[in-house]
Chain length 282, copies 2
């Protein structure tokens, strides 16, 4: 997916949100927005937005004075999600349709902002999300592909969400290779975050080899590329991975919540809709 005009103000919104999350003072956020505004003309409009977002988050790191300003936020998210793990694990085991529930929970992990809630509220929110209707939900096709695949490449997204990915991986009876970002960017999961969530106990965890809030194949490691092009089934979590892989010819199923009008337009859904969709059906 290329960068649309709508993405330009959105980069400023992301910088502002990230600055707040990193507890930058208003004056520093203002300086950052001025600097970012002056650099709009450097944005390559033919690249997917997550590639541009790298520069945006480097700018944030510079203003915060840290290479990983969301380290604490990520740890808190993972720990909050891990507290929910035992109950959700039992729910799946006791379900009439463990795979169906685990699939829905995997998307719940993409929806929730773990930092913003107490455990009680999180449980309530999970229940609510599980009962929301879906925008595109190609579950039948997904189940068929999954049953045929002898292993799965799973592209992770945020820390915290990782715990829900783990529940899903534990439920499908398949070998999984779980891919994390090549380094810390926003609250996206790295090797360290995946380990804290216990993914390494249920899957082989590898880094994409490139630090972006999405999956840029041509910039990724040879190891990743080999896996990507040989995988019988790829599960891609979240909007960043969608934005970078929506034009790629591979057996990808996207599992995400649509968070902006540009992506919603691409998918033919509304903003806020939850989606399970095969790339070749786009």
């Amino acid at each position: 997916m290329k960068t649309y005009l709508e993405c330009i103000p959105c980069f400023l919104i992301q910088a502002l949100r990230a600055g707040r999350l990193a507890r930058l003072k208003d004056e520093a956020i203002y300086d950052m927005l001025c600097e970012l505004g002056g650099r709009i003309k450097e944005i390559p409009m033919d690249s997917p937005p997550p590639l541009t977002a790298i520069g945006v988050y480097e700018l944030i790191n510079k203003h915060v004075g840290s290479d990983d300003p969301f380290k604490g936020v990520k740890e808190e998210s993972t720990k909050a999600a891990l507290k929910l793990y035992p109950k959700l694990k039992k729910d799946i085991e006791n379900s009439d349709d463990p795979l169906g529930l685990a699939l829905r929970l995997a998307i719940v992990g993409n929806v929730i902002d773990f930092g913003a809630h107490e455990q009680f509220d999180l449980e309530k929110e999970i229940e609510e999300i599980l009962h929301q209707p879906f925008g595109r939900w190609e579950e039948k096709e997904f189940r068929e592909e999954l049953s045929k695949a002898d292993w799965v490449l799973y592209l992770g997204d945020n820390a915290g969400e990782t715990v829900f990915d783990r529940l899903f991986i534990e439920t499908i009876d398949k070998p999984v290779t779980y891919v994390v970002r090549g380094g810390p960017i926003i609250n996206d999961a790295t090797l360290e975050d995946a380990k804290l969530a216990g993914i390494d106990k249920v899957a082989k965890v590898i880094s994409s080899g490139f630090k972006a809030p999405g999956t840029i194949i041509e910039k990724s490691s040879e190891e990743f590329k080999k896996l990507f092009y040989s995988a019988p089934l790829i599960i891609s979590k979240g909007q960043g991975n969608f934005e970078t892989l929506s034009d790629v010819d591979a057996n990808i199923f996207f599992l995400l919540k649509t968070k902006c009008p540009v992506v919603a337009r691409h998918l033919g859904t509304k903003v806020g809709d939850m989606v399970l969709c095969k790339v070749s059906n786009l």
Copy 2:
């Protein structure tokens, strides 16, 4: 209300939206966003956003090559609203509570995007909005103040909405002075737009003397200032007037739909809520 950090990306969103509405090509909108981004550092953060928006809309005019790029859009909106006028007039006359209905319709006028719908859809949308709950709705206090006032100063907002203001003015049995912008800015109503809506048949129409998408008292004409400070009751329509008058000591009732999180926070409502609220209750 001062300018918040959240307003900075929003200026870019407004420029983008206005560029689209004025049918600018994507390349021209991109150039405009680059120029605006480079000028973020000129934004006076202690001024209300509509004062800054003047510069944003001047930039749009420059790129469109017109002093009034929304002239056509405004005319279409007013004409679409005038088609609804006879039916709504009858609805008010036949209502058990004409003032209550006219008040709700006045806010409906602030909510609707006339350009985007056919007449049939507009009638349906009006019905839906009339049945939505309100965020803050100080109707009892408003009715008391209105019954005591011997005349009303009514601060208009957008073209099209003016027709709904006219219905309200016809319903309250009071002399009204209706204020429009000092010149064309976005789709805000000017003298010409108010006349097309027939406001001049039911009220004295004056210009504020200043061209901004809000009411900047210190920049307005002496005639306006005199009226403003002597008015027993002021009805202020829309978010732009709220942003510029929320700190002013006068007998103002705001009638608006909250369209952004900053204003919603000020009002203690949610984005999208409809509000009738006295300035001294803020």
